[in-house]
Amino acid sequence: MKRILLFIGLLLGVVSACKNPLDGLELRFKKPYPVALDVQYYTVEGKAPPENMEVILAGPDANRLITTVNTKKFRISSDGALFLSIDSLGPRPTAQNPLRFTVVAKVPGFVDAVLPVEMGNENQRSVALILQPTGTTSAVKVAQSTASRSGSVDRDWSVETPTPIIANQSVAQASIAKGTQLKDVAAKEVGGTLTARFQAVDINKSNNTFLINPIVNQTITKPILRGGTAEGTNQQLTQVVGAFLLQIHNEQYQLVKTASQPIRVRFSVSPQLYHPLERRVIQAGDEIPLFSYDAATEKWQTETPGKVQKASNGDLEYVAELSHLSLWVAGFTKQKCDTGPSFKIKSSLPTTNLQYQCEVVNEATGARLQVFKSTVNNGEIIKINGLESDQFVRLRITDALGTAVVNSQLVNGCSGEVQEMDLSSFKKQIQKCPNGPGFKIKSPLPNSDYRYSFVVINAETNAQLQSFQTTANNNEVVRLSGLDSDQKVRLRITDIVSSAVVTSEPVDACASNAELVVDISSFKVPPQRCANSPVFRISSSLPNSDRSYTFEVIKADTKARLQVFQSSANNGDVIRLGGFYENTGMIQLRVFDFLSSAQVVSNPLDACTNVTTPLVLENFKVPPPKCTSPLGFRVKSNLPNSGATYQCQVINAATNGVMQTFATTVNNGEIIRINGLYSEQTVRLKIMDNQSGAVALSAAVGGCTATVQEIDVTSFKKPILKCANPLVFSVKSTLPTSDRAYNCEVINDVTKAKIQSFQSTLNNGNLIKISGLDADQKVRLRIYDSQSSAIALSAAVDACATGNQAIDVTSFKIPPNIKPGEVRITLQFPCKALDEDKLPTRELFGRFRETGTLQWKNLPSMKYISGQTAFSIVTDLLEVGKTYDFQVGPAPGYFSFSESAYKLRKADWVIEIETTEYCKL
């Protein structure tokens, strides 16, 4: 038995000896290695590639490559990103000792993406590669051949691109002669089974090549000059003859760089191709520039030009002999001129600051290359820059004061010569006269306020320069101004009574001292205002009333309306007319009855007569009297009494026209009284509830009904009353004065529902005014700190409380400043303090792209600063107002956390992290 107990004891001892396997485990993030190369793979459609991508690293220095977290588990992420670093086990890459490797991405259905890389420094390189589909419609020709161990091609090898080199031309054919020895970039032989990829490249399409297409805006960037190492200036392609990409490697993805014999590539060229230097179409024997781009070094090279020759079928073809494999582009280019032509002005005009239109015109196309304004004073030199080597131009200057145009001689855009331009045909500048001549009126006519028509004309051309109207009484002086100089003018006055015209003597437009006499004694006396005016006395049998009638004064002959007015028309009322001239002529007065539609028209009489004429209102009907008491409506309502006012309308029941509009309260039992109605009117009262859209409409009732009517507004909803005054909070803050805006919320104290959210500065003593709050509720103001997890919460106060309420934000942390154009990204932990020892890392790596675009851009790393509760960076790469996708992780290439389509509304982007794992307890 003892033995049994001993055994059981042993068993229990063994079992109780078991520890938690994770006891003492401290998981932290590794310190990542700097990124040497990041490759972003896309499909032609701009989407992420399939997820089953395989990555192979080859080349002499592939063993130096690691992931950014120092593993060899290379992978392409689901969004097509690959990040590589260089280990610390060997020398760092230098221009003299670069690291060379090849990155191969394989995925079924797509041409292998084989990217050679030569790193001559430790700068991060970012590459975007477009995966080209395989299949019969593929633009990439994949062919295979073999080479001996010494790299000698076993047979003559010819490969053709599947698509024409350029639309409507031939495909490109590459020929490698048997015995050609192929070597890689390190001059090692490339033997075994060779795979060639050959395609015609459309340089305008960035997504149709299986390798990099570095051409943007048709520009070849700083190509290395032929036979040297110096960089030339940017070359802009003006006519592309053909572009193609040829890549060959063996099974080990050892890429061919050089060939012992030239690889000959040929394709047809259009016989209409224009030779910009010879200024004619091309012909056999012409050379066409050739450039190559090495994707490994990312450098352009100026190559030996290819030649145009006659093909066996008689057509023109372009033949290039390649000494190495790259992206090749054949075509004519141009470059920006360092020095442009100059033009010296020859002019006899006085010096002036007048600006003249200058145009640099391309001789070949007639296009205006540059348009600018310049003075053209004698001896001035106009220098033209920014032209290109293939441009032959003229400078064209247009006279600002005339129609003359002067063209320079033809000159090359890069010519530094100075050419003379004679502008003697240009007109002298005409200036405005500061003051003009005066004309003194000589008239025998009595003074009058009658305004005559005056015209200023050019004395030579009789062209009308100015016209105006003014009086022309004796000894009055009419002074001209605003005239152009260098001309003589005349003043012409016309009399409409006699049709007489008087024209002054010519006088210089700028002769401000001159005062010419203009005699208008041939004019007749102008019309005068009537000394008297007719009077009408109303003769009516109707009882007196306050009703107004419409009166019209019309011309007796044409019946044209001269005046219209409203007036009462009780018996004996006097209507006195006025405002007529002597030449107004015969008039009539007309009055309308609004009840019977009858009208009465007076006899014609002179507008200046002083007679009193009776106007008998025949057939006018007696207007009903105004109601003696107001019409009353008693409100029937089940709403609590309030001071809310409602819009009311008195509506004519017969016509539905609105007769009166007013606003009033509609509490139960209230009587709404309507004045000003007449006995013939039948009306309804309409009351509108704007909040619910309900409308109350009374029954039609006579305007003078004495009994109080009822109007039912029980369909109205209880009015939500707004506070009359804003709720005001006074900020108590220890933050430095700034314009930083903080997120604020007004919440209902009972339901905790957010009523308003807004941003406000939080400087000490600031008053935050909150308008538009509904009454009858308790609210709190809540403000979030952007630098910590602190939240300020006010006491619960009545929404309509008067006086200043307090909000204390002294717990908020002082934020660093953000300069204009910068954005701060903050990963904010929900803690008052972080347990720094628990933090798995103190640096995070992020990248972003504009939502809807392809290219990711790396952000500076986000560092944790001791004592804070957030990781943050300030960057000028982001712009407020744009929408971004954002990723962040513990190492480049391991972007574990992502946020998509985030609209960046302000410069302070705070991403709340919800875990309290790292918070201090």
């Binding site: 068993l11 063994v14 078991c18 977290v69 588990k73 689901s78 391991y894 946020e899 919800e914």
Partner: protein, 235 residues
């Protein structure tokens, strides 16, 4: 090679308990029984032979088998789905000696050796949907795959005790046995990519192994039903 060794082992065992004089075709059969068992280490069979010279000692050989392999999806909430794929096999071929210390009692003590051809537990974990972590989403491929393997020695020791006669007095018998396999200290093998790759977990594996040094024993509780093939020695 291993199969050949086991074949030789069983042939030798058979020869030990079915003996005869050279040239004599008659074979003497010793008391023996077969049994089936089920318990914490799975189901199995065993053969038992009572030793001629030591009737209280019984030699037995047998095998047990238990396997579990399944995909288990776990919803962490917020539409975050992860999948566990546990995979383990307990397959032990064992040989042991039972000792009945009391002649009239069915109580016995036992000890022996065993061999297991897959002495490990494997577990794979991956995400099926974006994982919500602290308000931030982690894509499945960023979460990656975590593979955990715990491996013990293939040769295991065994000790235990129980009640039940190895060769029943009647034709059928029932017994129960409680014991423990000694597996040795486990070795941890972790394979992961994705998020955990960025951590120092790999450096922490020795610590986990140290913490698991106590995980050397596999308890075994078995119910055994035996059938006596030969209750007494037969010639």
């Amino acid at each position: 090679m291993k199969k050949a060794v086991w074949l030789i082992y069983f042939v030798a065992l058979g020869r030990a308990f079915a003996t005869g004089n050279p040239g004599d075709s008659a074979v003497r059969w010793w008391p023996s029984a077969v049994g089936i068992q089920a318990g914490t280490t799975g189901v199995g069979v065993q053969w038992a032979w009572k030793l001629r010279s030591q009737p209280r000692l019984v030699l037995r050989v047998g095998a047990t088998y238990l396997a579990y392999k399944k995909k288990i999806q776990i919803d962490l909430g917020d539409s975050s789905l992860i999948e566990f794929r546990p995979d383990f096999v307990i397959g032990v071929v064992h040989s042991s000696v039972k000792w009945h210390p009391f002649p009239r009692s069915a109580f016995f003590l036992t000890g022996g050796l065993g061999y297991t051809w897959r002495p490990d537990i494997q577990l794979e974990l991956s995400a099926l949907s974006p994982i919500e972590l602290g308000g931030i989403q982690m894509k499945p491929d960023e979460f990656g795959t975590i593979g955990l393997g715990i491996k013990w020695s293939p040769v295991v020791g065994y000790a235990g005790f129980g009640f039940g006669r190895s060769i029943p007095k009647r034709r059928w018998g029932v017994g129960v046995e409680l014991g423990c396999y000694y597996l040795g200290a486990p070795k941890i093998n972790m394979e992961f990519d994705g998020f955990l790759e960025t951590t120092t977990l790999e450096e922490q594996i020795p610590l986990i192994e140290r913490n698991m040094r106590g995980y050397r024993f596999l308890p075994n509780l078995q119910l055994v039903i035996t059938y006596a093939l030969v209750k007494k020695s037969l010639r």
